[in-house]
């Protein structure tokens, strides 16, 4: 009996101690978790204690998540959801006002705001109607997606009731916020019914103008790590020895309405070859962007001479925004260099030699070059 009493008392004492004294320290321990299992033992102890805190820890966890690394964000999310879940199951209330303020503050990290929103919506049925319609231009892709979805619903409803002007207006407004391919396709279809064509290349910010040089040798897939001359110099006047003789830079513009840049069609589809593609992208300020690439071919990407990513995979499908690579554009002209490689597979499904390439902000919104002489049409 004494033992039981001691356990109960220790539990009662433990919670306020966690809340009052240690929350910040626990948050820092969790945030110190790093790649390859580093910091796990300490973070594990901390997240265990943190998960036992009460609802007063919820906002500090959200705030701490703002600048946490991607792994630590998940550790913190685990603690947040445990506390929020336990609070509701035990009949408690979530701090609704604070959660809503956190959602509305766009200085907070988009995905953390979304977490706050989802828990707010669980306990406040009016929150979605109050918050989501204002999110069409929000930095959070998830919140924006919900706003677009409402407009799509409204457009479809208006179509059904024959309110053509209302439908058209809602389709148009929805397109302003839409970045996800599925939503854009729905909107494009809706607008087409009103006789309006959407330029998807423009909407998604596909880069369509590239200079190409090739083929260089990639027989038996040996060319991936061979640094051919364009990797060390971009001189468009110089000719080089390629796989089949002398090669030189040539300019191409793709006219594909879906944004594809098809090397096989525009130039040639040499089996076991490597081709370099380059273009420039002007930025009016320094900014972190995502380069979103789709291709079935192996590739390497350089930004202003710095290798950003290399991917040696052939013919495993081509999907919208298949790869997302972060980079920082400098003010002024930025040089993009893409090495794209074809292997020697002979199956019908392994013949594509093409890519899609666009520049977006971190939420997927197209970023257009700062002047119109650049590659976006």
């Amino acid at each position: 009996m004494r033992a039981l009493t001691a356990i109960v008392l220790s539990c009662l004492v433990f919670v306020p101690i966690v809340q009052a004294v240690e929350i910040d320290s626990l948050l820092e321990q969790v945030k110190a978790v790093g790649p390859k299992g580093s910091g796990h033992v300490e973070a594990q102890q901390a997240v265990g204690e943190l998960s036992q805190a009460d609802r007063d820890a919820l906002l500090p966890i959200l705030t701490a998540s703002n600048d946490a690394n991607r792994l630590a964000m998940n550790w913190l999310r685990g603690a947040f959801e445990t506390i929020a879940d336990e609070t509701l199951k035990s009949g408690g209330e979530l701090p609704q006002q604070e959660l809503e303020a956190f959602v509305l503050d766009t200085e907070n990290t988009p995905r953390v705001r979304r977490l706050a929103y989802e828990w707010l919506a669980k306990v406040d049925a009016t929150a979605p109607d109050r918050i989501i319609p204002t999110m069409l231009d929000d930095p959070s892709s998830e919140l924006r997606r919900d706003a677009v979805a409402r407009l799509i619903d409204a457009a479809q409803e208006a179509e059904e009731t024959g309110e053509k002007l209302v439908a058209h207006a809602n389709w148009k407004k929805a397109l302003e916020g839409a970045v996800d391919e599925d939503q854009v396709k729905t909107i494009v279809k809706g607008l087409k019914e009103h006789g309006e064509e959407v330029d998807l290349v423009q909407h998604f910010g596909m880069l369509m103008d590239w200079k190409l040089i090739g083929p260089f040798d990639n027989k038996e897939m040996q060319g991936f790590d061979v640094a051919y001359p364009p990797e060390s110099e971009l001189d468009f006047e110089v000719k080089y020895e390629g796989q089949l003789g002398e090669v030189e830079w040539k300019s191409y513009t793709s006219e594909k309405t879906d944004g594809e840049f098809d090397i096989g069609e525009l130039d040639a589809n040499h089996k076991g070859s490597a081709t370099y593609a380059t273009t420039t992208f002007d930025s009016d300020h320094e900014q972190t962007v995502e380069f979103r690439i789709s291709t079935q071919n192996a590739w390497k990407l350089w930004l202003n001479g710095e290798l950003l990513f290399a991917r040696e995979e052939y013919h495993r499908g081509m999907f919208f925004d298949q790869y997302r690579v972060q980079g920082t554009l400098k003010p002024g002209e930025n040089v993009l260099l893409l090495k794209i490689l074809q292997n020697e597979q002979d199956e019908d499904w392994a013949q594509d030699y093409k890519f899609k390439f666009r520049v977006t902000d971190l939420s997927g919104r197209a970023i257009r070059p700062a002047n119109d002489r650049q590659a976006v049409r």
């Binding site: 390859k36 796990h40 973070a43 997240v47 998940n74 996800d180 495993r316 499908g317």
Partner: protein, 402 residues
């Protein structure tokens, strides 16, 4: 004799320690076999005890741990949200849900999804694994114990078509295959902390197979068998050290199955292997049968027989001793999920959502009942506590007498 008893004991521990649970892909022994008594009267369709709605996508098998049915789901426009859900096995009521943000690539073929690998459990912890190579470790109440992002750690560890290998937990080690065309490896994570115990470079080739566990009949030690396009590698789960290596190639889709001291590998048809006494580094080929060609579904073993489904949807029953075929039975449709067996009946679900209850006879198999779930089903079912659990993207069903 003493060594053989040790080996048998190890197998028994592997099975008995799991009680009525179904803790990983194709069950505790990864052979798709259960001793549970489940409803086999499907003449009016399968008896459904309950169904629960799922929001998102998933083809991971449910697992059953300590009265909870654990299911993983992925959601969002690019499936970047990872869910782990717990349902009360008795009532179907959702007990808890935890969500996380994928740290790896979510790209995959439209047919599959990010919640493709089946989670695993050691009875105390749940290990949820996704195509993004995120690993979530929770306790049975949903409290986060640790989180790893293996593509976050190794950015080229991914497959544009999606990953699907399901992990196993053995000797306090979670064995996770992250095998693909680029940065390809298999790793052993400390089940308690998530720290890396070992990591093996593996063939650079897409691989959707799952590891299986085999007990050494001599000393009772457990070995994890890793299948790839190169063959089959047996390793010590605590260290990753190679025990034996079979190098004559193997399939990268259907997984092997272990029965006693023999592993049946989809290699050049089916090849039966066992540890060799003369050369412990190279397994002995017990038999090979080139005419046995499994499709996507993995192999299942029970009572001295081996079961496989080919690309045409034909179920074969094969003698484990020599590879001779006892009988064949044409099912209907295409199968991504693998069959499971309870007693004298086999259960499998085709991609169109049709469930089959097949009576396994000595000389023939007989379809004794079917059930139309009317949703795409790509998963392998789970069997626990007299029930069969199966899921689609949208639903989890419990097949049991209500």
């Amino acid at each position: 004799m003493q060594r053989m008893i040790l080996g048998l004991c190890a197998v028994c521990v592997l099975m008995i320690s799991t009680g009525a649970d179904w803790r990983q892909f194709r069950g505790n022994s990864a052979d798709g076999m259960s001793h549970a008594k489940v409803p086999t009267n499907w003449s009016d369709g399968a008896p459904l005890a309950w169904s629960a709605e799922l929001k998102g996508r998933g083809l991971a098998s449910p697992i059953v741990v300590n009265g909870q049915v654990i299911v993983t789901v992925s959601s969002g426009p690019s499936q970047e949200r990872l869910h782990v859900l717990s349902f009360n096995a008795e009532s179907g009521e959702q007990q808890w849900e935890r969500q996380f943000w994928a740290t790896g690539r979510t790209a995959c073929h439209p047919k599959t999804c990010v919640a493709a690998p089946t989670p695993a459990s050691d009875g105390e912890r749940i290990f949820a694994f996704y195509s993004t190579n995120d690993v979530v470790c929770l306790d049975l109440d949903g409290n986060l114990l640790w989180y790893r992002g293996l593509t976050h750690d190794y950015p080229n560890a991914s497959n544009s078509l999606g990953m699907a290998s399901s992990p196993v937990v053995v000797d306090d080690t979670l064995v996770v295959m992250v095998e693909n065309d680029a940065d390809s490896f298999t790793t052993g994570l400390d089940a308690a902390t998530g720290e890396t115990r070992w990591q093996l470079d593996r063939p650079r080739a897409a691989n959707w197979t799952s590891p299986v566990v085999m007990a050494d009949e001599e000393d009772g030690s457990l070995h994890v068998l890793i299948q790839s396009s190169k063959g089959m590698l047996a390793i010590d789960p605590r260290t990753g050290e190679e025990t034996w290596n079979y190098q004559d190639g193997a399939s990268t889709a259907p997984s092997s199955v272990v029965s006693g001291e023999v592993v049946f590998v989809p290699s050049n048809g089916i090849t039966a292997l066992k540890a060799s006494e003369s050369n412990p580094r190279v397994p002995e080929i017990v038999w090979n049968e080139g005419g046995l060609q499994p499709g996507t579904s993995s192999l299942t073993a029970a009572d001295g027989r081996l079961y496989l489904i080919n690309r045409g949807g034909v179920l074969s029953c094969v003698n484990q001793e020599n590879g001779d075929r006892f009988w064949q039975l044409r099912l209907k449709g295409r199968f991504s999920g693998s069959p499971v067996i309870a007693g004298e009946h086999l259960f499998v679900f085709n991609e169109d959502g049709k469930g089959f209850c097949v009576k396994l006879g000595a000389d023939e198999g007989e379809i004794v009942g079917t059930h139309e779930f009317e949703e795409t089903i790509l998963c392998t079912p789970a069997i626990a506590d007299g029930a069969i659990y199966v899921r689609s993207d949208g639903h989890l069903w419990k097949i049991a007498q209500p």
